[in-house]
Symmetry: C2
Subunit: 464 residues, 2 copies
């Protein structure tokens, strides 16, 4: 059943006048009594290929009645295209109809513009559309570029666990994972659920980050990263939140904040270069139909040095900007999207790596700076989206880590294994987190992360 | 804080007499009053590098007292090694002690042989051992080779969902995912839990396979694969089972069983070639210390054609073998490990792709053969392990699919979206599943899958 990919044919990998067999689905058919043009698509690239069918074919009558989404096997000769656009088309010698469409008038993916909401309700058929097909190929290209970047630079991929019964993770905004009866769980004397009888012998949850786990591997193998699913039981119905999403979390040993920031800049540039090189067909669609300027934005990011800026300086800039912001700007506040975008888009006009945030708005594990009031944290702010990466150098001094944990009300004993990394050959280390769906949304210009993941999980919705 | 990877130094990427800075952890120290030898390891490759330190260094006294796992930064000159084994060592000019080991006598990863059970209890420190470090690098190499194989062959990576409230999945051996109160969930009038008030508005579970989901993308983009976590709430305390593990599931449109089998053979050979080329250092360790012959076994798999064999013929061979098997062999039974290994190891002496199994021991979605009693299923049996891959051509005929579902007691309406793929441009398609941890175990010779995943999740155990 050997056949060629349409991407290879359109890329000129076969000689003119050679015979090819293509398999795919009908996008459109234009037929008259003498000949028919079929646009055939197989998902290997953005474009379908044009098939020319003469009425001399035995089954021309059936062919001329084909509708969108019928599946075909076409054998024919590769010829120069007479129309504009593509260089090649296929003069069919045989068209085998593999599968028809039941009642074409009610086919849910008829070739017209559908709303993204409608497409989500038909998530099993939406990869057949230009929008979702192109987003899938871009997603694939970005994911592969991320793995390549890390592999080429000596990082080890670490599959940190998704289910965790570690005392480290609070139960807030986490999903419980259980096999206990939902109505009548075994109870302890105090009336609480007896999780010692649950599958894992303890109450277990879905992880919200692999960072603490992956630090254990960084402190043994120097350069590591996670790329896996992460979960938030947050009741957020926004265009930037999913209950299940994919995160990339590199962690580098023998690295200070500057090294972590450089890694973030290098990685982003590497993956943007890859997508510009490998998926221009899909990017052109997004630039034309979804968000004008996405290609130029990526190109600019690749060509521009990211600007390093201290949080304290950023506050100063915002206060002196003369801009009216919705949220007030004072040293100590967490910046909101309007502030981040002003800095990146209006003040600097380039991506910014904002560094050294007040400790009170950041996590306990971030390394305390010598000023005693800021930590070695960083966010990468990109024009057009705001924060795309967040990271930090980690606190590698056991005594400082312990006081920070006590300060925020954590019990150091619950973190015994995290503390062990600081007891046995501690090293300066750090890393960052990149929400993969936000990256895909940024590259494509798609507004809602629900449309860059195959089957989005959100409050009240986990079908398919 | 720029420094070089030990892997690059040992691979000869730097010239003799050049100055290098290395950062890593002490493996061993041998010191006398005049000089010391330090084996320094950074996880970038199997071997540590030897650092030679003269007593002329200011801090020689501290250096000579270093113990396993202390972290160092070493700057020195790259010189030829006088000892056997490696070509290079470093004559130190500066040794900065970064982190010491608290109470070296009780350091849990002291340089001696630890049992795998002990290592699992210290899963946060075990990547510092030769065994787990080497397994991690092999795992990384295999994972990258899998992504590369699919990328180069035009497959799109699809992140199928982990949480599902689809009616398709039975609740047997699945983990429930919930944010309802564990003791007092909201109840419906009939006394059952009211999952309409749960996070997803329905009872939700962790997926046991991405296959049905990924078929929807194959029927739009032709060649796709999943590579992600999968879950089984099975109370199996065996060396081959985990509650959370990673699966690779390619799915090919316009493919019959022969095409699926060829893809499985090609992919396995591709990834075995990659690991033989890129991780010989770690493989030599496994061959020497874990399982004699793993390298030869991989090499043979790469060089040998996989044998195709029908289930029916295999039964015949087993019955005529004259072997006493623990489990009886009759047409219709599921083969057990002893049968599979006899076929692959003794009868054929090569990997076998066993095909066309009785429909009653296989899943409803596998394509019914014309004989009406077998389905187009396949298992890849490898010498030394037995089944490593299972797959099938899928039933693409709606009427046959519906009768098969009814036969096994499923409600076709629950599968409306799976059925839609057969209503709208159905195509022959199929794929297979590869348990990633079993692959890593096979390549390394490690006996228990708990030792090839960073933090194993098993009954009564999900710490860290």
């Amino acid at each position: 059943m050997s056949h060629s990919a349409i991407s290879d044919v359109l890329a000129g990998k076969y000689q003119l006048d050679s015979k090819v067999t293509l398999k795919g689905w009908v996008r459109t058919v234009r037929a008259n009594p003498n000949f028919a043009f079929i646009n055939l698509h197989d998902g290997s690239c953005f474009d379908p290929i044009q098939i020319v069918v003469d009425n001399t074919l035995n089954n021309y009558n059936e062919i001329s009645k084909l509708t969108t989404a019928c599946s075909l096997s076409v054998t024919g000769t590769l010829v120069e295209s007479k129309g504009k656009g593509q260089s090649f088309e296929v003069q069919a010698e045989e068209v085998d109809i593999i599968g028809l469409v039941e009642d074409p008038d009610t086919y849910p993916m008829a070739p017209k513009r559908h709303s993204v909401e409608y497409l989500r309700e038909h998530a099993h058929l939406r990869p057949r559309t230009n929008l979702i097909g192109a987003a899938t190929r871009i997603r694939n290209c970005l994911s592969h570029a991320i793995h390549n970047y890390f592999y080429e630079n000596g990082f080890q991929w670490i599959a940190t666990p998704l289910i965790t019964a570690s005392d480290c993770e609070g139960a807030g905004e986490m999903f419980r994972v259980s096999t206990l009866d939902a109505v009548n769980p075994p109870l302890k004397d105090d009336g609480r659920a007896d999780f010692s009888q649950d599958f894992f012998g303890k109450e277990a949850f879905l992880t919200v980050s692999g960072q603490l786990n992956v630090e254990t591997y960084a402190c043994a193998l120097s350069k590591v990263y996670t790329f896996g699913p992460t979960f938030r039981a947050e009741n957020s119905n926004t265009s930037r939140h999913l209950a299940e999403f994919w995160m990339v979390e590199p962690e580098l040993a023998f690295a200070d904040l500057a090294a972590v920031a450089q890694c973030a800049e290098d990685m982003l540039k590497y993956v943007f270069k890859a997508v510009l090189k490998e998926r221009m067909d899909d990017l052109e669609f997004f630039d034309l139909r979804v968000q004008k300027g996405v290609i130029e934005r990526l190109q600019k990011l690749v060509d521009t040095d990211f600007v390093r800026m201290d949080y304290t300086d950023a506050i100063d800039i915002l206060q002196k900007s003369g801009k009216k912001f919705e949220f007030p700007v004072d040293w100590g506040v967490d910046l909101s999207s309007e502030h981040e975008r002003y800095l990146a888009e209006e003040h600097v006009g380039a991506p910014i790596i904002l560094q050294n945030y007040p400790k009170d708005i950041k996590s306990f594990y971030m390394r305390l700076n010598d000023d005693g009031k800021t930590v070695a944290a960083m966010d990468v702010l990109a024009p057009g989206i705001g924060e795309i990466i967040g990271g930090s150098q980690r606190e590698d001094r056991l005594d400082v880590l312990d006081s920070r944990m006590e300060e925020v009300g954590l019990n150091p004993q619950d973190y015994y294994w995290y503390r062990d990394l600081r007891r046995y050959g501690s090293v300066p280390h750090g890393g960052f987190g990149l929400g993969f769906e936000r990256l895909v949304a940024y590259v494509t210009g798609i507004q809602n992360v629900r449309d860059v993941i195959p089957f989005p999980r959100t409050p009240n919705s986990a079908p398919f």
